[in-house]
Symmetry: D2
Subunit: 216 residues, 4 copies
């Protein structure tokens, strides 16, 4: 029997009528390599987003989980390296909640590193012509809430399951009403990138050995 991948994408938020994360996720093929792909849309709500992911993990029993969110302003697809135990919202979430400087899990560690091979994923996307870069901050909003919570759930209850998070830029059509310098990407390219990134994650138990880090 083949492996199983769970991929989640967020609903629209912040006044936008679409979320490129979910648009890209739902265009993924139903199988990648030897694995079947289950796609789930989750709410942009602190606490409820992570719960929806956790519920899907229990139901699907995946080998690999990737949650996808939008990072408006970034120019590339960015697998996230680390989730932090901290919620601090500049704008309210879709339920109107706005946590300030709160812990996500009381007594949880300050951070978890993704257990996906982020460098191999970036390399695979670049080879496929999709601009990609490892990111070292998933922010402090619902995306990080979902990432940290997922990694906490996997670490404490499903240590054999690998998981991580990935941010996508604005979709091209979202950028029409944004400032002239705002980067964007077509949802087709995002979906193509996520597919090869997942394929790389399936075939790399360990990450590749290339320098992708920063110079500060």
């Amino acid at each position: 029997m083949g492996r199983k991948i769970l991929v989640t994408g967020f609903q629209p938020f912040g006044g936008e009528s679409m979320n490129p994360a979910w648009e890209a996720v739902r265009r993924l093929p139903d199988t990648i390599g030897d694995a079947t792909v289950t796609k789930v849309e989750v709410p942009v709500v602190f606490g409820r987003g992570p719960e929806a992911v956790e519920r899907a993990v229990e139901e699907v029993e995946p080998d690999l989980v990737l949650c996808v969110g939008q990072a408006g302003g970034r120019a590339k697809v960015t697998p996230e390296f680390v989730g932090i135990n901290y919620a601090d919202a500049r704008i309210p979430d879709n339920d109107g909640c706005q946590p300030i400087a709160e812990r996500i899990v009381d007594g949880g560690p300050d951070a978890y590193f993704a257990t996906l091979p982020v460098k191999a994923m970036v390399q695979a996307m670049r080879e496929a012509g999709v601009p990609a870069e490892v990111s070292y901050t998933a922010g402090t909003y619902v995306c990080n809430d979902v990432m940290y919570s997922l990694l906490h759930t996997l670490a404490t209850r499903h240590p054999e399951v690998r998981g991580g998070f990935l941010h996508v830029p604005y979709a091209t059509e979202q950028a029409t009403h944004l400032p002239a310098s705002t980067p964007s990407m077509s949802v087709d390219d995002m979906a193509r990138g996520i597919a090869v990134a997942l394929e790389a994650a399936l075939t790399h138990e360990k990450d590749v050995d290339v320098a992708t880090g920063s110079t500060h």
Copy 2:
């Protein structure tokens, strides 16, 4: 008999193996509205680029000319408002020439405004979901050389023909090896944008009356 559009795109330059301008131009449909579309690839060479455009104008006898070039670093498709009588190259062109602070046409006016409805073109692209913005500088490299020369040729010898220039961002696949913040756009979206921009140019003898200007 229908109208005729001439569209040109540049060859690769600056060490790149493709030029998104020509890639987008050659994907244009062969008819737009009531007009047939002729597509010509031109060299990234001072003097020879403009000559290739001029030759195509003489052969095609178009009603409307749009030259397309790459402006790496921009995030949107940008119809140009003005070409200036000035060549100043930061890097050599594809023939190895690098003019510094030279006039393009001795005795020519300092500048020509595009005779295409740049605001209507931007509006049409935005409505089609393609990020677009009017630009007020076509630079001082071969793009501006072509733009100024075209407008000079049309003004002095074909005043009934309307013409202009349009810059596209890096193609998505070019950005894989560029810094993390470099914006890009899929060539398909560029081609789609140029097509609706040309349709808008056909249907607007006069430009639309909306504010697109700057605040400095």
Copy 3:
């Protein structure tokens, strides 16, 4: 008898409580090289800004005129190469006027090039440690209105007087309430840059011969 320089700076606009252009201008020394410096604050109003500059030209009878404005979002001090015969305002000016796609001078040429040595000015600023770059668009707002009008006045009535325009970034203190990526510069560094740029303008009747142009 020594030469005379006229330098103007704009009043605050767009909701800001200060304009770094005027703040920098009023900190200039009263003499630069052999020249005395007269400083005049002008309103951010289409038509009235240019009139204030013209009045000052008549009164001061300068050898050299530099008008200074703010280009929020730029990271460097940018002498402008060209002013265009076009006004198009994204926001109303300080008198509430918002011209759309209007000519500044009916029957005037499409553009005038600055008659100051912009490359020598940039070079002098860089040598003094002030980031600087030639700009090829002064926008379509009151700054360009002032620049084009000044160059038109000088060309038609005072051809022996050299003139131009220079944009400065946001001042450091303005950027505290702006997005994280907004560049800024200390007003002291702006003033220091403008002073050495004016010195270079005094000593260079002809511009220096270095490449500063674009690659698109």
Copy 4:
């Protein structure tokens, strides 16, 4: 007896002839509030940077430690929220070492949060007219190496001492030879910002309760 602050700044690296971090640190006053300030320059070398900081902590026995580094490309002064147990160098350090995907402390936790009131520090800098923003990534180079190591040392051996890290932009004079869009800041403004940030750290045992987080 008054309190003691230890502030460190890095030596130049990456081909630069100065490091604005140390330039700003050495301009700090010798007392801030009731505290004396000790300033130490440390090498941009994995392992040796952290050792130099640790040695200074043992010697000075400070109440509060702030390490300062350069993050070229940022536009604001950015107190760091979190250091991660990970070293990944895009370029070699000043000793020629280039760790790839290595742990800083074997068996150490994935991350430590700064124990300085980063929001209060940002607020104080903004009120003083210095652009500032909380950052959620200190990168993966020597800056993060120093930050993580400092917080590990303090957590395991000096839990009563508070500590953190702060990044500064390029200095104004560094940006003269960098691309046109590169932001920078005067070293005087950095020093002024760091001084008021330290004053805020002295007076805020707990951080202030304002939203500074992200929206992704």
